[in-house]
């Protein structure tokens, strides 16, 4: 049993290391410091959003509205910074808007009882539309120096977005493993009725998770806007799927109750490395889609197989 558990937690890590070694040996310019930095920057937005998506999935739900929220966050940040010139406002206001989006999601899911797919599919469109409305349909350029600090500065040789992502991994890792909130989220996803009867405030936990998700997505949007010096209403298209695939690749269960931050980190990196290697190999954009889709399918299959294995183990024991 122990070795099997070990495989479950580190299996994907082994796959990742082997994958990277193969790419390093076969793809030119892959294993260079500059390219590694490029990969890290390219996954920073997905990485940040994946932290809270982990909570959503662990709690038994998921959130399709994150891509739109990233766009809205960026657009609002650009509008605010152009008007006020203040970095603090350009961060704070979008994050508050993100919190509202998340709270709305959480309210409809936990209180009204509409399932997460429908709810977030709806808010995905509403929020995307709002981003388009706020920006007038085109991207909003930013030329403020201090705003660039978020996305374009370096610290100890790594870009700020990468440090932010690392910070999020640490914060949410601690939140999941070391706090009541994290345990309660896993309990809610693992068996909602048991959680309720044990006196856990199920609805409140879910709303909190979605609110965090909205805040983090909006913040990631601000960082992205700073990196590309504009707020774009089309930013983050399809991001929700990348984030969910990264989580599932990292062993987070789609049925709730299971997930680790290390898994998510590895999942995010696999996605980034794959994307990057396809770029270096000059793979056609159409093929990239086919490959990304296949990776998603593979990820879900892995999840299924693991689930089946654990069911079988259970059957063996009972």
């Amino acid at each position: 049993m122990r070795p099997r558990q070990l495989w479950e937690t580190t299996g994907i890590l082994v796959v990742f290391v082997v994958f990277v070694l193969i790419l390093a040996a076969t793809v030119e310019n892959f294993a260079t410091p500059i390219n590694i930095r490029t990969i890290l920057v390219s996954v920073s937005v997905v990485g940040m959003v994946a932290c809270t998506m982990l909570f959503c999935l662990a709690g038994g739900d998921f959130d399709l509205s994150v891509g739109s929220t990233v766009a809205l966050g960026g657009v609002i940040a650009a509008l605010v910074v152009n008007k006020t010139g203040s970095l603090a406002y350009a961060v704070l206001i979008p994050v508050c808007v993100g919190a509202v989006v998340g709270m709305v999601n959480g309210f409809f899911i936990a209180k009204v009882g509409i399932n997460a797919l429908i709810t977030t599919l709806a808010t995905m469109q509403i929020v995307r539309g709002s981003a388009q409305l706020a920006s007038g349909g085109s991207s909003i350029g930013v030329s403020n120096e201090s705003f660039a600090a978020l996305g374009q500065t370096f610290w100890l040789g790594l870009p700020t977005p990468v440090w932010l992502m690392i910070g999020f991994f640490i914060i949410f890792g601690v939140l999941l493993n070391k706090t009541l909130f994290g345990r309660n989220t896993l309990a809610v996803g693992g068996n909602p009725e048991a959680a309720r009867l044990a006196g856990i405030a199920v609805a409140r936990t879910k709303i909190a998770v979605f609110t965090l998700q909205g805040m983090v997505a909006a913040f990631a949007g601000v960082v992205l806007a700073s990196r590309v010096t504009s707020g774009q209403p089309t930013a983050g298209l399809g991001l929700e799927l990348q984030v969910i695939s990264a989580c599932v690749l990292g062993g987070v269960s789609l049925t709730g109750g299971v997930g680790t931050i290390t898994g998510v980190i590895v999942g995010v990196l696999i996605m980034g490395v794959l994307e990057n290697a396809m770029g270096l190999l000059n793979i056609q954009a159409f093929w990239k889609l086919v490959i990304s889709g296949s990776v998603l399918l593979l990820a879900v299959t892995l999840d299924r197989l693991k689930h089946k294995a654990s069911l079988r183990r259970k059957a063996e024991r009972v």
Partner: protein
């Protein structure tokens, strides 16, 4: 209303189509163990769920220590010192035993978990209920009986004044039951009020000192001194008629072997197991939890792979590699773990009933025969006396015992050659039990071979023609009905080196 530390005052609760509780009033003293009995669907679990804040009553109130309390959610009830062990387990399978025990009130400092504290506390708590497992183990990996003990350990962590147990012993074996009784005895001595729901009259009369009977959602009887009443009076009040010899064993004509299991070794079966069941014969398998009884049935049914050995039906060797193979060969298994392996909670009674037999009762093997399914569901509901407003009701909404009957009905629709029944009367009331026994006889009478796994000694002794005793993954002895008695079976079933501490 009479006095009492805990008082129910005119509690009513309706579900669509069912009046589950109708102005129920009675009191429970502190320092007493109060039995709550009644037929399946009488409303016992509903009352407990109202007590725990899981359901809200339509009218009426609960009084604790002279104060009216109102529980909008389980949190409120827990805070008011009420701790309930539900009929169905409520554990998070992916979490550790320790986390499950402290679910909802994990030891923490400023919201940060104190894992080592939690593990220590959980270990103590587990020792308290007498189970030796690593508190870091995931609950999903535990056998049913241990999960039940975890549930009990969990309830004891609350510093409660009122404890309510809903059929806690239905999945426990003799050893754990006696442990649980010691615990309840201690709760009573320390002045707690304990409500105890059970269908086992032996338990009620040895453990409890007061009793309340519910029938069809109505309060019919409360006696604060149990010695003032008798078993037959209680049963009479419960079911509204006399039940004499509940087993009513009759000998039958026994034919050729229908099922032969030869030297099967499988998961949980350590020594090659062999057994023969003849047409018309009822074979019992007795043993403690973890003795390998369920595993043996699952291996025969193709649900667990077997490493070696063979299975013969009507003298023909059959390859059984999946449950489908087994069903085709004429074997049916009615599983022990109803919630996980038996019912589809959000499907209707009708759907659950026909799930399996429809394969052979469809037009051209493809299109569902609506009329037949309707008829079959009605037939099983009637014959097993399932208490449900309609056959369209979701099975998840039925009382525990009635869910069990629906699962049984499904396998009876199969017309099997051999039927394997794993704890068939678990959670079933005494009236319905008799009907299930009568059904078992009827099946046997018609030439089916029946295997009954049970932890209830009187049941095994009362119903079976022949009894196999299992211990630690091996069949240790085969005893004829005429030679079997309680003492002998228990002695054979107890693990070697553990014969002193256990009681029936």
């Amino acid at each position: 209303m009479s006095g009492g530390f805990l008082r129910f005052e005119s509690i009513s609760k309706s579900f669509p189509g069912v009046k589950a509780l109708d102005t129920v009033s009675f009191g429970v003293e502190s320092g007493s163990v109060h039995a709550l009995v009644g037929e399946n669907g009488a409303g016992k679990s509903t009352l407990l769920k109202i007590l725990s804040g899981a359901y809200r009553q339509d009218s009426g109130s609960i009084v604790v220590a002279g104060e009216h309390v109102s529980f909008a959610s389980p949190i409120d009830a827990i805070r008011s010192g009420v701790s309930v062990i539900y009929q169905e387990l409520h554990l998070v399978p992916e979490m550790s035993i320790a986390e499950n025990i402290y679910l909802g009130h994990l030891p923490n400092r400023f919201g940060f978990l104190e894992s080592t504290v939690m593990l220590d506390l959980a270990a103590t708590q587990l020792a308290e209920v007498g189970v030796q497992v690593d508190p870091r183990e995931k609950v999903g990996r535990l056998p049913l009986a241990l999960r039940q003990m975890v549930e009990i350990a969990k309830a004891l962590t609350h510093d409660a004044r009122i404890f309510a147990f809903d059929e806690p012993t239905s999945s426990l074996s003799a050893r754990e039951v006696s442990r649980l009784f010691e615990i309840i005895e201690r709760l009573k001595e320390s002045g707690k009020a304990v409500l105890y729901v059970s269908h086992r009259m032996d338990e009620v009369f040895s453990l409890c000192n007061a009793i309340t009977v519910l029938r069809d959602g109505k309060h019919v009887f409360t006696e604060n001194d149990l010695s003032q009443t008798s078993r037959s009076e209680v049963v009479n009040l419960m079911v509204g008629r006399e039940i004499e010899d509940i087993y009513g064993y009759k000998s039958r004509l026994i034919g050729e072997p229908v099922l032969e299991v030869k030297d099967v070794v499988a998961e949980g079966i350590r020594k090659p197991a062999s057994l023969t069941v003849r047409a018309g014969e009822i074979v019992g398998i007795f043993g403690l939890v973890g003795a390998g009884r369920t595993e043996l049935l699952k291996a025969i049914f193709g649900a667990n792979r077997f490493a070696s050995g063979s299975i013969w039906i009507d003298g023909v060797k059959r390859r059984i590699e999946s449950t489908r193979d087994a069903i085709k060969a004429g074997i049916a298994l009615c599983p022990e773990d109803r919630k996980d392996e038996g019912i589809f909670a959000i499907r209707s009674v009708k759907e659950n009933n026909n799930l399996s037999a429809r394969r052979r009762n469809a037009h051209m093997g493809v299109f569902i025969k609506e009329r037949w399914e309707h008829w079959n569901a009605l037939k099983q509901v009637e014959r097993l006396r399932v208490r449900t407003p309609t056959i369209q009701q979701h099975v998840g909404n039925l009382s525990g015992g009635n869910q069990q009957k629906v699962v049984l009905g499904r396998w009876l629709s199969e017309n099997p050659r051999v039927i394997l029944l794993d704890e068939p009367t678990r959670g079933i009331d005494i009236g319905a039990k008799k009907e299930i026994y009568d059904l078992i006889y009827e099946l046997a009478e018609s030439g089916v071979g029946v295997v009954v796994v049970s932890s209830e000694l009187p049941e095994v002794l009362g119903v079976c023609d022949r009894i196999l005793v299992m211990r630690e993954g091996e069949i240790v002895r085969e005893i004829d009905r005429t030679e079997a008695n309680q003492g002998l079976l228990l002695e054979l079933a107890l693990p070697t080196g553990d014969k002193s501490g256990a009681a029936a």
